[in-house]
Symmetry: C2
Subunit: 448 residues, 2 copies
């Protein structure tokens, strides 16, 4: 995955934890997304919720996103003013959204008598690379946040943003606020990061699409990483990667209720390891955000695939699912197809043009595809799962165009028109419906 | 004046100028206010205007304000969420307004093929003190801006903002973008700073109130400083102070036309020094933004005034116009009155409470006052001007409550209800109307 990397999010991590614990200050790291801080009234409610979580010397670091659709509105402005806006300036623009929220939440907290101080991403010590619009965190220097925690009850940090070594404002890309929160928890040595959202946890599939989807009490990092990468919107994949890498437990829970949510942790390490045998399949994700690109009359000689995918990589276009096949016997031309994120289709075509022109090949974009993924930590070691899945997809009338598999996932590309039917069919074939199975760990979540 | 100070805005000033000139790059410093960048269409027009001003190796530093009423909207949010919002957080919030404009203008410039790069105030090197909401510039480190000017045609800088030594975001207070522009011009060694606004120059009084007001071709720093301080909104007083201190010529002109505007410079130094004798009076300003505070039964003993005004000063409340008078013979109690900015009335009352309680005195707030100021570089040396002014005020039916004078200004406090009539009467008494006098230097401005 292009979003993950190996740099530590701060070297003073255990020191920080030791100091906070020595001072008798348990630390909560909480993240509230755009819906939770959607307007002034909701920001006031978040302030009340944060206040309730204090007491007994507890201090909190609260990471927030931009209010509601602010980021979208700002990016629409940019697109109205420029055909192909510079990513650096888009980041300068977008970063204002979270900056507004940190100020307003700090004001709302102070109004309740809670001592609070805001920090932008750069102020909070987030050093990133210079990949504007999708920057990676290189280090988190928590000096200022720790100094503020000594004096304030709550430190409010702008999610989604940082600065590169030259001081340019960067953003981590969509969903980056989750990553900010987990990276801060890791750097501060906090054991858990609470992600408050508009659902009350992680479900076997999107409950807006399949109302019978059931909530999970607990999910493994690897399963969550696959679900998140395959289109489940509840958590950003990079944040899950961070959490796994630094051993931070994530608690996904509702901003609006006090219900226990879903814990994302390492099930392999857990004493309840036997739980695994109860559920080879944890969830099903549906991703409608990809387009298929078909390359026609590509020469059938060594090095061609490398040329094509290097060009895409250099342009920052991640490629998912690839098929390649020679067309007809004796034909020296072959066909290739792969899928990319819809937003990157133009970038991909531009990056490919020189190579394709030189090869005498052409590209064709096919929209209307859906990627359906089955995720479970034991999928690779449980026989028969792929067969059951393909049968369920076929039963929904969907033709399978591509297949990819890993130890913890099977994905199929199907026509978008059959996506919801196939999702329902697969979800049901593995008994993932609410109350429809005998798995103790899951049935206990139903009324959670 | 509390807003001015003696720190240099950057020590590398002449070096920078020398380097730019050596590189054959004349530098224009241009500032566009909130109306000029009020929406996306206007930002596109500003981009076109900036592009027109380039050519022949010219480079530009463009300082911008927040779009239209953005700052007001943000501050309204803050007031909805908090009764007495922290000034630090207000600055974090308000600074997002200019940050949005720099990104959008940079995008609009790039769209026209102009190489542009944006900088926030902190990124542009603005180091301020920590007086949130009204911070003073301590230094301008132009290293990054100069480096960018070597590579880009235009550097777009967020006005109104900086950072203190701890990296906290600060704002310079209302109108601070003018100050940003002039300070940058000074630090970069540019001889002139162009302030683009919605009027085509500086007038003898507000032309929206007195349509016969005439535009000035040129005005002295001291006159402009007084006019700006006394309520003329065309320029921020601190910016004029900076311009005088560092010898930067200001050209106030329209964003919408190419007409020559008003040059603010030192007339004392000018070779056309004789011009001064032609106009003892340059303009009349009306300020409706003050409230009168009356203190009753204040003990008549030494040190009382110091106690009162020290308390106000410590709370950051600037006091203008003071009267003091013993009430009746044999009475050991006196009355005092002064005026403060309306927004600071509550701060003033709170700051005074302990002292007043200890003295057994009380405070009363009187709204509905107006301060009318006559400004001219030779007022102090020209006999009869005060008398003419007082007569004109009386003729408009206004009772004079307070008077203050300086070498270049006479101000009177009058009831707000007579403000416009008095303004008209005074403006006319000194022959300031458009085309209504024989001053060569001014009649030439009429058709500017």
């Amino acid at each position: 995955m292009s979003l993950v990397h190996d740099a530590p999010p701060g070297s003073s991590r255990s020191e920080a934890a030791a100091r906070l614990l020595a001072a008798g200050c348990p630390l909560r790291v909480m993240k509230f997304g755009g819906t939770s801080v959607g307007d002034l009234e909701r920001i006031t409610k978040v302030a009340a919720r944060v206040e309730q979580s204090l007491g007994g010397g507890v201090k909190a670091v609260v990471v927030v996103s931009a209010m509601g659709r602010t980021t979208d509105r700002l990016l629409t402005w940019a697109r109205e003013i420029a055909q192909r806006p510079s990513r650096r300036e888009l980041d300068v623009l977008a970063a204002t959204g979270e900056q507004q929220t940190i100020a307003l939440l700090s004001l709302a907290l102070a109004e309740r008598g809670v001592k609070a101080r805001s920090f932008t991403g750069p102020q909070a010590g987030f050093l990133t690379d210079s990949l504007f619009g999708g920057a990676r965190i290189l280090a988190v220097d928590t000096t200022r946040v720790e100094r503020a925690l000594a004096e304030y009850d709550v430190v409010v940090v702008a999610g989604f943003q940082g600065a590169d070594a030259d001081g340019n404002i960067t953003t981590l890309g969509r969903g980056g606020s989750d990553t900010t929160a987990v990276a801060l928890a890791a750097a501060l040595g906090a054991p858990e990061c609470e992600i408050f959202t508009d659902t009350d946890g992680v479900y076997t599939t999107d409950p807006h699409v399949i109302p019978s989807a059931s909530k999970l009490d607990v999910i493994d990092y690897d399963e969550m990483l696959e679900l998140a990468s395959q289109g489940a919107k509840v958590l950003h994949p990079t944040s899950v990667w961070y959490a796994r890498r630094y051993g931070v437990r994530i608690h996904v829970r509702s901003s609006f209720t006090h219900t226990q949510g879903t814990i994302v942790t390492s099930l392999a390490d857990a004493t309840e390891g036997s739980m695994l045998s109860h559920r080879p399949v944890t969830g099903v994700a549906l991703d409608l955000n990809h387009a298929r690109i078909d390359l026609h009359t590509v020469p059938d000689r060594p090095g061609v695939a490398a040329e094509i995918f290097n060009a895409l990589g250099a342009a920052g276009v991640s490629v998912d699912m690839i098929i390649q096949g020679v067309r007809g016997a004796g034909d020296s031309r072959q066909q290739m197809a792969f899928i990319v994120n819809r937003d990157l289709v133009q970038d991909a075509l531009e990056a490919l043009r020189p190579a394709l022109d030189a090869m005498g090949a052409s590209a064709e974009v096919g929209d209307g595809v859906a990627k359906l993924s089955l995720v479970g930590i034991a999928i690779g070691s449980t026989p028969g799962i792929a067969g059951t899945m393909f049968e369920a997809v076929s039963a929904a009338g969907a033709n399978i165009e591509m297949i990819t598999t890993s130890e913890v996932r099977i994905s199929v590309l199907i026509p978008a028109e059959h996506a919801h039917a196939a999702l329902r069919s697969v979800h049901s074939a593995f008994g993932l419906e609410d109350g429809d199975e005998d798995d103790e760990s899951r049935s206990s979540q139903v009324n959670g």
